[in-house]
Subunit: 227 residues, 6 copies
């Protein structure tokens, strides 16, 4: 994992249709479908409400206060990618702003996930370029030290391998390993299939206690009702 100064140009991306399919389900459903794992920590927040994005991960490893490699990763973006940026130590500096967003968007990026800060959030919001970050900060960065592009990175506490599928929305950011994507899609689809029916029942006043047959296990576990 500790390769510095390296750019992998050819990575194996997960299927883009699967990315779209998973993205439509949203993070909560996808996270359930892959066994309640792969979720970044909840400090990773979208810079505007109702942001949504999905795509295949292009990764970049940065140093504290240094955004040089964001220019390097731009060249590796293909349409449908999401850039995932990690830093070697905690840093809230504003690594990314409207110029880089213009470049990323032109290259086909669907968004940015960065375990650090961003700036120009007003313009990014107007551009509808979604970013999930740890902080918002006007603090600028230098361009002095090499990191790497398309190596596995830890971002927001989750391991991201280049080519993995990323799904991000108001609820957070989830990482689906490329090899699990097909199965995750099937599980998520099955899970969603009867959600409408469940919702209708609950809206009609049916209790989850009854719909999910919880009364018996609750009683067995010892639950007591007191009037």
């Amino acid at each position: 994992m500790y390769e510095l100064g390296v750019v992998y140009r050819n990575i194996r991306r997960a299927d883009s249709d699967l990315a779209g399919g998973l993205g439509a389900f949203g993070t909560a459903t996808v996270h359930e479908a892959i066994g309640r794992m792969g979720l970044m920590k909840p400090y990773m927040r979208p810079i505007y409400a109702r942001a949504q994005a999905w795509g295949t991960a292009v990764t970049v490893l940065l140093h504290p206060g240094d955004n040089w490699m964001l220019h390097v990763v731009a060249e590796q973006i293909r349409h449908g990618d999401i850039v995932v940026a990690a830093v070697t130590a905690d840093c809230n500096d504003g690594y990314f702003g409207d110029l880089l967003a213009t470049s990323f968007k032109a290259r086909g990026a669907q968004g940015l996930i960065i375990d650090a800060g961003v700036r120009d959030v007003r313009v990014l919001t107007e551009m509808k370029f979604p970013v999930w970050s740890k902080a918002i900060s006007a603090k600028g960065t230098v361009k002095a030290t090499l990191g790497s592009v398309n190596i596995p990175v830890v971002c927001g506490g989750a391991l991201v391998t280049p080519g993995d599928i990323i799904v991000a929305d108001d609820d957070g950011v989830v990482v689906v390993p490329a090899a699990s994507a097909q199965k995750a899609f099937e599980i998520a689809a099955a899970r969603e299939a009867n959600e409408g029916e469940k919702r209708a029942k609950l809206a009609a006043g049916v209790l989850g206690l009854d719909m999910y047959n919880m009364r018996e296990p609750l009683q067995k576990a010892g639950l007591k009702y007191i009037d």
Copy 2:
């Protein structure tokens, strides 16, 4: 306080008209009216801007990573209640989403106050089901361990007894003990009575220094002006 596996079905709720009356004043005024107490910690934030809710507290105690009891509490909700959910240890998992919100709403809940995380915030926002929480997270939970319903709980650092009045808005969440509600309403009403007049004076450029007769006490305290 340490009863586990117990559901109290009959609680004495504060008067619902008082809940409505206090709710109309908002948290800042109510908090002043009850002696600057009963406020939850400021980490309890609404999931969308301009959220507002008030009602009588139905409480539930949960375990870390386990939302089983949210299904149990649903049955105890009456129209005009607000569910207040505490956890036995710090946890940011997403205990509550759109299906539970559909159920809570159908039962007449006015909102949820939870000292943990929630998910599906986009749908909750569209549903206009207000939630004040410590975190937003797609992380799912299990259903394995009993907690309790309608026992006194500590939520967001404040003690909540079932039946207390809860007032929540953009400024936070305040708890009014049922026994203090009538008096709190009277104090709040008196406090609000001349706010319009004060606001008009201040808008006209009158200084609080003069309107509140602060110049003399400030001088006595030793304040010096230097030109």
Copy 3:
């Protein structure tokens, strides 16, 4: 710095045209123009999205849980000022609400920067009175202890001298010393001059690697591409 119980009435304000000029550039550009310094910590956040303000600093030093001096500072506000409020120890209480905002606005204040909490954010938002704060809290304060007005203060980790220029927006709050304002304006203007051209190139797909001539220095630093 440790003067207590003192109000300086005559401070030397930076040029208001410069404040307006810098404000139009926004915090990120201004922060770059003054050498990547003078930025408050990123925990200072606007209470509503797209807030923007600039002006000359009128400062006030407060004690934990005591907002008495906010009434004193109101009298010292002139049109075009921004009030900068520091506290002698960490405190999230709600020092400032809609009545004080009405007064500040009537005096000509452009906004408030406070290293503590505020309340009545719904009304402040409707009034379009912008505030950058550390917290939102309904918690009220007392009026018991003297602080000072128009002494140098540390707010959000940045030193603010009365009369300095403050620029604040979604990206944070930056302080420009009065003596550096003219030069900062010139640097910022130069920096902005060719941003449109750069943005057009990047939007057309030109890479920053090429536009900024980074390929050679990256190669010299040892960057390796692997296919």
Copy 4:
């Protein structure tokens, strides 16, 4: 709970022998014995390593930056008590130092649990007066606003009723309601009874998997071993 300006002189203390008995078991065992509840949040830390204390709670409610009521509570201390101090809002100021510790000790206090800051920790350590606090800070406080003594308070996220038993050590602080103390003691004693035997087995290399008969439930849950 919201009584201000009140001192309850006669509280019903839990049995002091039970306090001693529970104290000898330590917080982890006591916490288990009362159903994994009643624990203060882990930010409550002892000011020196190997601190240990137990006793009956005398409570005090303070305001931010104001330690006046600590002098009032001193008079209510009886030999064997532990003072539990809560604050109406988050505050890290140094409310308590060596003079108050001298006074508390002379009155028979076994220690202090304070949801705020303390100072003079070098002297407190030399005096062997144990304190569990949220912070250490030299910041002094004023004496201006009334709180209350011996009302129920929320400290470190736990409800403390006057007379409850407090057990505190390196692992944290646990609150045992007076009414649960006898039963808690019995459960804790039973729990400890065979700990020595267990420890000997584990030290000899026996696995918990075997000692606790976990292999079958693990297999049923689906655990797979891969060579």
Copy 5:
């Protein structure tokens, strides 16, 4: 990475002599030797001062509030291993205490690195069983949900692959991939070789400015001295 309910029994451990050699250098030197990477976040702290440990990683993935898998991992420990425990979401509960420590020690474990809480720290300290953790808490856990053993995990923000070398001391915890261990040792040894000489010069008053020949690059960078 998302395998649940799986125990890998045969992992390829890095050379134990290399672990010992790297351990003797300490985390700061090893972290430099592997390119300033692989360091866990600084919130991972030893439970007692001067703790030191090194060994080969045996990993375990846990769920919030559930320590069942710690009993499973115990069986996989070989002499010279360090257990590295990750959790699927943030949790400060006390997963590990003196009984498990007795068992781990009997199996040959050199210590525990856990991205959660521990308890019984007084006894662990007396046993000299070193633990690096995120928190200390008496809060107990349940045994209900399967995790995995010896899969790659993210702990303290760092990726740990089973068999990697772990070096931990007062300065934190560093992970050395098994494949990099030999080279890391050589670089660290070279780095340490002339530290004694440097230390002697500095102790004699020679400046780093001169010893490292920094004056010229500083001047070139534009440093100005003002008398």
Copy 6:
């Protein structure tokens, strides 16, 4: 304040006898003597228990992840100085270790106050070189960007002007402006004069309520005793 790339060689240091005199009183007393101001935030902690230091401030401004200027400041240290290091943005990296400590000590430094991280804490502890820092971290830094030496800096939330007196101990770090040092000493001395007598009275069981004549003001404020 925003001078970069500048080293002021001649600063006016406060009187060293006053530094020694104030240091002997400790931070809590000094902080009171200067009006409860000038205290750094409580996150600034000593790296070992019972650390104590005082001296005249030599300041240095650093960039995130870059410790180059620590070598520059070393040359400006005179016997009796304390180095105060600020960073332009939040950073926990380990800027300072045993080699720099050896150099600082040889130059006569009494300690280091750094708003960032340090490493080699075991050796620093053995050397008895006291450091107050925000973090402990093995993370190394680069030497690439100029900061400044002996300009006013904000460290731990407090303004430090070169030559100010610094007093640091277990309770934190306090800054005494050079111009206030003589008066601060006199106030502190007067304050300490009768502490022994007070302590003796309190140890004999006299209450602060009586010793400080608080009963009447408490009664006037409305305090009620309930039996």
